[in-house]
Each structure stands twice: as C-alpha cells, then as structure tokens.
C-alpha cells in the first residue's frame, strides 16, 4: 500500500478546498438558512408537530442529508473530472499507485469536505431551532457513511462524465428529486399508501430515515434496514469503481 500517495492526493485535494474555504462553506450555510427561514419559520409555524417534533427541527436531518449528498457528489466528481479535463491525470496513471489508493485519496478528501459542511449546517441549524441529538454516535456514523458512499458515487460520475454538462446532470436529474422525494421535508407516513410503497424504492428514504432516527429516536423504516441500504449502496459503488479501474473505462486506452 502506497500510503504516502494516498496522503499526497488527500492533502492536495484538501488544499484545493481550503483555497476556497469561504465559498465552500458559505453557500451551503446560506442555502440552509434560507430553508430554515422559508420552511422552518414561514411555513413551519403553520404546520403541526410531526411525530412529536416541531417542523423546524424535523427538517434538520433532511436538510443536512440534502446538502451532504449534493456536496459529496459535486466535490468527488469534480475532483477526479478536473485532472481528466486539464490532462494531469497522466501523473496518476504513471505513478506507482493502484486504484484503491487513488480512490482512497480522492474519495477520502471529498468525504471529509462534505462531512465538514454537514457539521457546519448542524451548528447553523442550532441558531434557528432547538435540537438534541439522541444518538450522537449513530448520527455521526450515518453522516460519515453517507459522505463516503456519495463521494464514491460522485467519483464514478466524475470518471464517466465527458463534459461539464454531464458532470451536472446526474446530481440535478437524479439526486435532487430522490432527496426531495425521500422524506427530507416530510415523513413518509404522511403520504397516501400507494406513494408510501413507491417511496420504499427510493434508496434515499432509508438514509434520511436512519439519520432522523439518530436525532429523534423515530424512523420511517427500521434502523437496521437503513444501515443495510447504505452498506449495499456503498458496496455497489465500490464494485463499479473497481470495474472502472480494472477496465480503464474512460481513463485509460
């Protein structure tokens, strides 16, 4: 294992993040604040408590997940797409590193960034609503797993994308709808029965549900199922990444 290479990639990527630290943190904080103003205060004040939790607090886990998932994907996909775009990928390919080391470096950095952003949002939300995290360890666990798996997913998109449009299209067309329909702002149990069944095919439901459980101790689906779903998603992403490097798909001719 070329640990120094992993570290080099990780540090290099984190430096890129630090160069634009304000931009990187500011935009998620602003958008989260807007969500709180609109959903939490303006609309939320007219909504009853959901499962004993005030609406403002109820949307916190969903909001964090929404931002973390999109940030993980955009960071990781850009991180590997950029070297492809400007040609510096030659260096990775000609270095004595294997696919796992490259993935650990890039995905590790993207996951760290999105984790930081997630924690910043959590802190920001405390300025608006009172929330207690009932299971802090589980909360952190879900957050880290989500950061990792969606960074892996972003990495795949970054390898697959051949232009900037493709880089944007998956987050826009797939992730945002899945997150919005995944119970970020409502409980699945509030839906008519037919739509509830449909929702269970949305993998994001399991992530948000598990994450919300770590805050409030209640969930749409069982915690075990949530863990299983995130493990399966991570597994599939890992398999795809392995196949990409095995075949050299879109990075090596």
């Amino acid at each position: 294992m070329n640990l120094r290479a992993i570290r080099a990639i990780y540090v290099y990527e984190m430096k890129r993040f630090m160069r634009t630290l304000m931009e990187s943190l500011l935009s998620p904080v602003i958008s989260t604040t807007l969500y709180f103003v609109v959903f939490g205060s303006a609309i939320g004040s007219r909504i009853d408590q959901i499962e004993g939790v005030s609406y403002g607090a109820f949307i916190v886990p969903g909001l964090i997940m929404l931002t973390v998932m999109t940030q993980a994907i955009s960071n990781a996909s850009f991180g590997i797409y950029f070297p492809k775009f400007i040609g510096t990928i030659y260096e990775l390919l000609s270095a004595p590193v294997n696919f796992l080391e490259i993935v650990l470096g890039y995905v590790g950095a993207a996951a760290t960034k999105s984790l930081l952003i997630g924690l910043v949002i959590l802190i920001t939300s405390r300025f608006f609503v009172d929330i207690d995290v009932q299971h802090p360890a589980a909360m952190l666990g879900f957050l880290v797993l989500t950061c990792l798996s969606f960074s892996l997913f972003g990495f795949i998109i970054g390898i697959w994308a051949e232009n900037f449009q493709q880089l944007q299209i998956i987050p826009l067309l797939v992730i945002t709808p899945l997150v919005f329909l995944g119970g970020s702002f409502y409980s699945i149990s509030m839906l008519p029965e037919g739509w509830q069944t449909v929702s269970y095919f949305n993998p994001v439901v399991y992530l948000i549900s598990g994450f919300r459980w770590s805050f409030f101790g209640q969930a749409d689906v069982s915690v075990g199922l949530s863990l299983l779903a995130i493990a399966a998603f991570t597994g599939i992403c890992l398999l795809i990444v392995w196949l990409i490097f095995k075949t050299g798909y879109r990075i090596k001719s």
């Binding site: 640990l3 890129r16 040609g87 004595p96 590193v97 090596k252």
Partner: protein, 310 residues
C-alpha cells in the same frame, strides 16, 4: 552495457483496429540519451505511454530496471519520470506544491532540500510560490520536468520537450538534458526536430507506422548513411560539363560556375576525389574553392521513412 529498458515485441492495437505499435523491440542502455525519431502518428507517444502505464499494451512485454511494466508496475514506474507532450498543470496550484505532490504520489518521503535543489537547477526557485497559470510556456515545461524528476527516477521520458518552444528555450532545454545525463539519468526523448536528435542524442531510433526502422549510434548512423558532397567552385563559368568528366556524374550549377560531386566514404574503391581533381586539371579547369557537406540526420530520416512507405 546493461539495458535499463527492455522492450520486446510490444504491440498496441486500439479498439477501432488501429495498430499504433506493431511489435516494437528496443533496448535502452543505462545513462544514454536516446532520441526516438518519427513523423506525427508514428507511435512515439504510444510507445512512451505504454511504458509509463498510461495505455495498456495489447501484446509483448517491457521491463524497466528488470521489472515488468504490468506485473511489477510499482517497481517499474518508481524508476520512471515522464514529461508529457501537452503541458498539463493544475492552474491554481503553486509550483512548489505541485512538485511536492508528485513526490508524494510516488511514495517518497517529503524532502524540501531536494526540491529546492531541483527547482534551483531548473531556474524555478524564484517562481516557487507562483501559481502555475502565471508562468510562461517555457517555465511550465520546466515545472513538468521538475515534477517528473522529483521522485529521483533512473529513466526520464521526454515527449516532445521542445515542441512549440522558441530557439533560445530549446537550447536551454538541451542544457538541462545534458545536465541530467551527467547525473546518470537515462533519457528517452521523442522529437520530430531532427536538429534536436542531432544535437543531443547518443543514439537514434527511427520509428514509423508503429515499427522501429533502425536503432543506431548517431555518429555511426550519420557516417554510414551520410552521403557527402564535394562542391567545386570554378574560376570561370562553363556552359557544359566537359566530356572527359562524364564518368564522374557531376552536376553543374545553373550559373555554370560550380560543380557538385556526390561520393560515399564507405565506397570500395575510395571516394574518387583524387582522380576527379586530376581529371579537372587535365581539362584545364581552374578551381576557386572546394568544400564538402555531409547530409544531415534530417535527410537520412526522410530517406528512411520514404523507403518504408515505398
């Protein structure tokens, strides 16, 4: 001398069926500068890319320092530095950071003293905190060289190091290459500037359409293939080559004041110069000046590639 790079029957066929390398075999000796010469699309970059791990060969084998480039890629690649043809650098990163990154990527511990030495050697030390996009084209290429050398490779591949670089910088680059050779680095450079190969290479390999046409010591090659021309300037112009000189196959210049005689230093019965000069005297021609020229590597190269196409 032992070969540090051994290539045997290396093939690369792209998915579309295009054969970029058709069984290339080549031995590169430790400490030499080998110029890989060939027209555009000959397979120069493909060969380098295959050896460095950027493309996967479809046949044959290659070893660097005895390590197979596929099965033992870590050890093989650790010995190689690559300077790509296209300038590719992250625009917003500082010079020193991007060089430091390259060393880490190759698994070497951080060594600031070495980096300082290298950047000074390449006249980049003053620019160490500049972002790479602020550098001139020549400076960017030096950064690429620094990145390629920072993990202390034994073999350096320079893919068209002076493409699009002005004359002064080109000479500058040659000096850098000479300096590296003095440090014992084996250098393989691709070029289509024959002048470049002629100026700095020890050996020349000519590649065309995915095949190596020849590998030879540069001076031997030029001596062997070099046709020489003797140009004789006459004191007074003549209207035609005198009949008595017909057997020498002379060319008369359009102005009629010079004769050209082509000869071969490898010829069995000498160059024929002595006989020619005697014959000239016998014809009553007086000479104003005599000089010889040797065909350049460029002419040799064009001749070889043409022969290959025919």
């Amino acid at each position: 001398m032992a070969s540090i790079v051994e290539v045997e029957g290396l093939q690369k066929t792209y998915d579309g069926g295009f054969e970029a390398l058709r069984g290339v075999s080549l031995g590169i000796e430790e400490g030499e500068i080998l110029a890989l010469l060939g027209p555009n699309g000959a397979g120069k970059t493909t060969l380098i890319s295959a050896l460095c791990g950027i493309t996967t060969p479809t046949g044959g084998t290659a070893r660097v320092g005895g390590h197979d480039i596929v099965n033992d890629y870590r050890k093989a690649r650790a010995m190689i530095g690559l300077v790509p043809q296209e300038v590719a650098l992250e625009p917003f990163e500082k010079v020193i950071n991007t060089v430091r990154f390259s060393r880490g990527l190759f698994g070497k511990p951080r060594d600031d003293a070495l980096i300082e030495r290298l950047l000074r050697q390449l006249s980049l030390w003053d620019k160490r905190d500049s972002r790479t996009r602020e550098l001139s084209g020549g400076m960017k290429r030096r950064v690429l060289i620094a990145k390629a050398l920072v993990h202390e490779p034994k073999v350096l591949f320079l893919d068209e190091p002076t493409a699009g670089v002005d004359v002064e910088l080109r000479r500058d680059m040659w000096q850098v290459v000479e300096g590296l050779k003095a440090q014992g680095v084996t250098i393989i450079l691709t070029t289509h500037y024959i002048e470049e190969a002629e100026a700095i290479a020890d050996r020349v390999a000519v590649i065309n359409r995915g095949e190596i046409l020849l590998v030879e010591d540069k001076t031997d090659l030029m001596r062997r293939m070099g046709r020489k021309t003797l140009r004789i300037d006459l004191s007074a112009p003549i209207s035609a080559v005198p009949e008595g000189l017909a057997r020498y196959d002379l060319e008369l210049s359009p102005e009629g004041d010079a004769l050209s005689y082509h000869y071969d230093t490898r010829g069995q019965d000498g160059t024929g110069i002595t006989r020619l000069l005697q014959a000239l005297a016998a014809e009553g021609l007086t000479l104003r000046d005599v000089h010889t020229t040797q065909s350049s590597l460029e002419e040799i190269f064009v001749g070889l590639v043409k022969e290959d196409v025919a």
